[in-house]
């Protein structure tokens, strides 16, 4: 399977058309042996932390098989660094699978999360936002992916309407994974931020797991409400068809996301809130029963005290 491990040399890659560009770099399609993959070339390679990128590339091998397969299936994970004369120029990742592409008026477009946050327009072409059931499926898929990442201490950082893709079948795919960092480790480069997707309590050191939890709350509520700027503290105007039980629990969790850092709902709590099966309400437990006070056998000395050894005078 390509790439087979280790760094790649830029000179060995067969570059095809440029398929995208952003603030950090350009993305080129790869031809030949690299078919089915793309190369992200950094605009400012001098600012890239090559060791951090290497760690990301090697990380899937450290995961258990279930997590590794789920991670590689649902993300554009960096698969190999690309070097030019010993310097990091970018990395290789898989091409976004066909189910996450739509055909809009200007041509092929990624099915970005943002299409779930607005009323559809004719210019969107075949990118038709799903109904409530489809939205729930996408929210569940996203929460499940975040559970996996957070369980492995991976911070996404820039969670936004542009870097999560969805498919009509309800699958999700995360882009810009070179922005992910392990808790306690440095990122590959300074993390970008996205308007309306900021955590007002983000620490000055940059996003962390708690920041991710806040943004996950934004994502779930905004997808279920078809709203682009909803914030915790505001009521969630759910799309028609969201079951009452789920709406109630999502509203509670969303309000909790306004609490101080450390108290925001985590991905596991979101998974429970979105689960169709619901939860079984349990009655409060009866008071703890105390042991009976029974007569105790006399011991040598007080109960629990060790016998003393009498020593002869010196």
């Amino acid at each position: 399977m390509w790439p087979s491990g280790g760094d790649l040399r830029l000179a060995d890659l067969s570059l095809g058309a440029e398929v995208g560009s952003g603030g950090q770099g350009k993305v080129h399609e790869l031809l030949g042996a690299g078919g089915g993959h793309v190369f992200k070339e950094y605009l400012h390679p001098a600012t890239v932390n090559g060791a951090a990128l290497k760690r990301l590339v090697e990380l899937p091998a450290d995961l258990n098989q279930t997590h590794r397969e789920a991670l590689l299936r649902q993300t554009a994970w960096p698969l190999a660094r690309v070097l030019d004369r010993g310097h990091v120029r970018g990395f290789v990742m898989r091409l976004v699978p066909a189910e996450f592409w739509g055909r809009a008026a200007p041509g092929p477009k990624l099915r970005e999360l943002q299409y779930l946050l607005y009323e559809p327009k004719a210019l969107w072409g075949d990118i038709a936002p799903p109904d409530a059931a489809g939205r729930l499926e996408i929210a569940r898929g996203t929460v499940s992916l975040f559970r996996l990442l957070h369980a492995n201490r991976l911070v996404v950082g820039d969670v936004s309407m542009s870097n999560l893709l969805w498919s009509p079948a309800g699958n999700v795919f995360l882009l810009d994974c070179d922005g992910i960092r392990e808790t306690g480790e440095k990122p590959v480069m300074a993390q970008p931020s996205t308007p309306d997707w900021d955590d007002p309590e983000q620490p000055s050191t940059g996003p962390d797991l708690d920041t991710d939890r806040y943004k996950l709350a934004l994502l779930v509520a905004r997808v279920l409400a078809k709203a682009s700027a909803l914030r915790p503290g505001q009521p969630v105007p759910f799309a028609a068809g969201v079951p009452d039980r789920i709406a109630g629990e999502v509203s509670e969790r969303f309000a909790e996301a306004a609490r101080p850092r450390g108290l925001r709902p985590d991905a596991a709590q979101w998974a429970r809130a979105l689960d169709e099966r619901g939860v079984i309400e349990l009655d409060p437990l009866p008071p703890v029963r105390r042991p009976p006070s029974l007569p105790q056998a006399p011991l040598d000395g007080r109960r629990g005290q060790r016998p003393m050894i009498q020593l002869p005078p010196a």
């Binding site: 603030g23 210019l123 936004s160 542009s162 308007p195």
Partner: protein
């Protein structure tokens, strides 16, 4: 929380020298691209607005400030007449004033507007336009725009440098005129898309400006 909006103004010369496929036809051909690219990107369409002001010896608002995703037609530019800058700067100031007031009334937080100014000639009112221009960049006017100015064909690079407040670009002949105008339009599209999706330190939007535009040489704006 009020929603941030960043207004963009395309201020384009349509004097007679802009006639034909190497002039307004090339710009007209790019306007549907602009509409499709911005209009099919919901966040960008939501956070930006677009207005076209054209000028020769007169100036007019061809397309009032609009959400591009709402449009079904766009007025075309048509070349004739001379070139005067005074009238267009007067119109630009009054248009921005009205637009900003209306957006604020609608509850928006309005970011400093961005102007993409393109001219291919020398102004016939060379003695007078500065007065109108000074009103556009007046430091005491809170809505004064950021201006990127493009000198095309015969335009005077020195004058374009005076007009730009952030960056100026001068046609350098490395591309055919029609291609260079397409690149001009692409730089406008990219600037709108990136501004609508890139955040500043405070979580709000920031204006993303092109550093380079193929077919043009980047020149620093004059310091005023």
């Amino acid at each position: 929380m009020s929603e941030q909006v960043l207004p963009f103004y395309l201020v384009c010369d349509e004097s007679w020298s802009m006639e034909g496929p190497d002039g307004v036809d090339a710009i007209n051909g790019c306007l549907p691209d602009l509409h499709r690219e911005i209009g099919s990107n919901p966040v960008v369409a939501d956070k930006t607005r677009f207005c076209i002001i054209s000028f020769n010896h007169e100036a007019q608002v061809l397309l009032p400030l609009a959400d591009l995703s709402e449009l079904t037609t766009m007025p075309a530019m048509s070349a004739n007449g001379g070139t005067e800058y005074g009238t267009v700067f007067n119109l630009l100031r009054s248009t921005i004033e009205q637009d900003v007031a209306r957006l604020k009334q609608d509850g928006h937080q309005v970011l400093r507007p961005a102007v993409f100014f393109l001219s291919d000639g020398q102004p016939n009112d060379s003695a007078d336009w500065h007065v109108a221009y000074q009103r556009v960049i007046d430091p005491s006017w809170s809505a004064r725009p950021n201006i990127l100015a493009f000198a095309f064909n015969e335009a005077d690079e020195g004058i374009i440098k005076q007009i730009a407040t952030v960056r100026a670009f001068s046609y350098n002949g490395t591309l055919k005129p029609a291609q260079a105008l397409q690149e001009f339009a692409q730089s406008l599209i990219r600037s709108i898309v990136r501004s609508g999706t890139s955040g500043g330190a405070d979580g709000g939007m920031t204006l993303a400006m092109p550093d380079t535009v193929p077919g043009f040489t980047t020149i620093p704006a004059d310091v005023v």
